[in-house]
Symmetry: C2
């Protein structure tokens, strides 16, 4: 059984940076927490917890330091932490920070601000907080009904560019002035492109990453939309030997928040299954 692993599977720049900051803090200081999961990967969050860095939902006066996760936090929450005298260690992805700043700028320039992304996602919530009232969140396929004359757009960093194209197609004849900050992270786009190429050449796709990870879920949905049988898993333990019956070629990809060791375990277990089922391995 042949296995093709995406070269761009796993940690992106922003995730790598945040995880390094968190493990570094774990070894240097007690009483450090992350506000919400630092990245959308339950296994990594657990391993940080084992080192003493706990994930909490609200700041507490006994905390010494709070690590801001890759997706950022709402501005008001940041202010609250500072007021409580807790040290802020900012591990927000620099690309998310840019999206926050552009959203703020668009509001200052009096545009009606549209954020293209998932309204429940922490990144979108953090960007929203820089706009204040009147912000419109556009979830793909659900186009905004009422538009003002001057519209400004920022995009959740992990959105596919196809969603931005659909939004522009919909609004270009309804607004007189549109300013777009294409804040889609290049690494997300390239990972999606590579995953597309692999999907076209394999019998099944294994997509590794947190079920709460937007970009991993998007990768899995994209593979399915290409007609290939796709399994979205978090760990190697979930792999079922039955999936590989009669399969000659397996593709493996992973979201931006999936640690290398999880990808390595998955490849090892697929190789074992290949050996057991007599499909061979390359």
């Amino acid at each position: 059984m042949k296995i093709t692993v995406a070269k761009r599977a796993g940690f992106c720049f922003g995730v790598k940076r945040a995880v390094n900051i968190a493990f570094d803090m774990a070894s240097r200081k007690d009483g450090v927490c992350t506000l919400g999961p630092i990245i959308h990967n339950p296994q990594l969050v657990k391993s940080l917890q084992d080192k003493g860095v706990h994930c909490v939902n609200e700041p507490h006066k006994d905390m010494k330091a709070v690590i801001i996760r890759t997706h950022g936090i709402p501005l008001q929450m940041n202010d609250k932490i500072v007021e409580m005298g807790i040290e802020v260690i900012d591990a927000t992805c620099p690309f998310v920070k840019k999206a926050q700043q552009y959203a703020k700028l668009l509001r200052e320039e009096n545009y009606q601000v549209l954020i293209l992304g998932e309204s429940a996602h922490p990144e979108v919530k953090s960007i929203m907080s820089y706009v204040g009232q009147d912000v419109i969140i556009v979830e793909d396929e659900h186009m905004p009904e009422r538009l003002k004359t001057r519209v400004g757009i920022v995009v959740q960093t992990t959105q596919p560019v196809s969603a931005l194209k659909r939004l522009l197609n919909n609004i270009v004849e309804r607004a007189k002035e549109i300013k777009i900050y294409n804040t889609i992270c290049n690494s997300t786009a390239l990972r999606l492109k590579e995953t597309s190429e692999i999907s076209g050449n394999v019998d099944i796709m294994i997509v590794a990453g947190g079920r709460n990870s937007a970009n991993t879920t998007q990768l899995a949905n994209h593979c399915r939309s290409m007609g290939v049988t796709t399994y979205h898993i978090e760990t190697a333990m979930e792999l079922d030997p039955l999936w590989f019956k009669g399969v000659n070629h397996v593709g493996v990809t992973a979201g931006a928040s999936t640690p290398d060791w999880i990808i390595d375990e998955i490849i090892e277990r697929i190789n074992n299954i290949g050996g057991l089922t007599g499909n061979g391995s390359t």
Copy 2:
């Protein structure tokens, strides 16, 4: 034979305004010229000439006043006329003036300026002159090769919105920031929409207007792309009775620069042909 005439056929706001200015000047002053045809309709230009307003290509010291046509003129030419002490009567369409000002603003804000339109069209040449160097003219289907990070777009007022959508689809993943002034004139878009609706219900389409008129040519091409037999004519004299053999329903539309009397003559002649061929008339 049934005839359906587009309600929006003929003069738009900007053309009506310019033609009124020109005929008004003709009755009040000698030595008045237009720089280039005031609108893209040879018949109307001829009737203005009969009243003493001549169309010239270059300003001359003997002129008393120059009427600037609907499409505007390059900024440098305007300066030259002023320097020569000739009175400038500005009949530039207010929507074209907006496009000129937005192009200037985009350049001042350091955007790489793209003008979507026909490079040889006087309107595009007038808009270009407000940008200076480094402007890129994008003719539909010919996408720009090299883009900077920050791109600003204005559009020739008579372009179809579909061309703007194609341009955005092409460049949205290649630029980081895009500012669009959608300067497409609403009346052009509505005329195209109405023409589409009529085209779907008739046997042949007659499109009236100057052969040098961008928006009339666009109407005719659009009808053809919808699969209906289409004739682009300038005057009623060009109508050929053979076109109407076996035809039950004729659609008539006209560009923004086509005078009402030309449309009226065309309808009258189609009615006559219908009578001659025994197709009846409504």
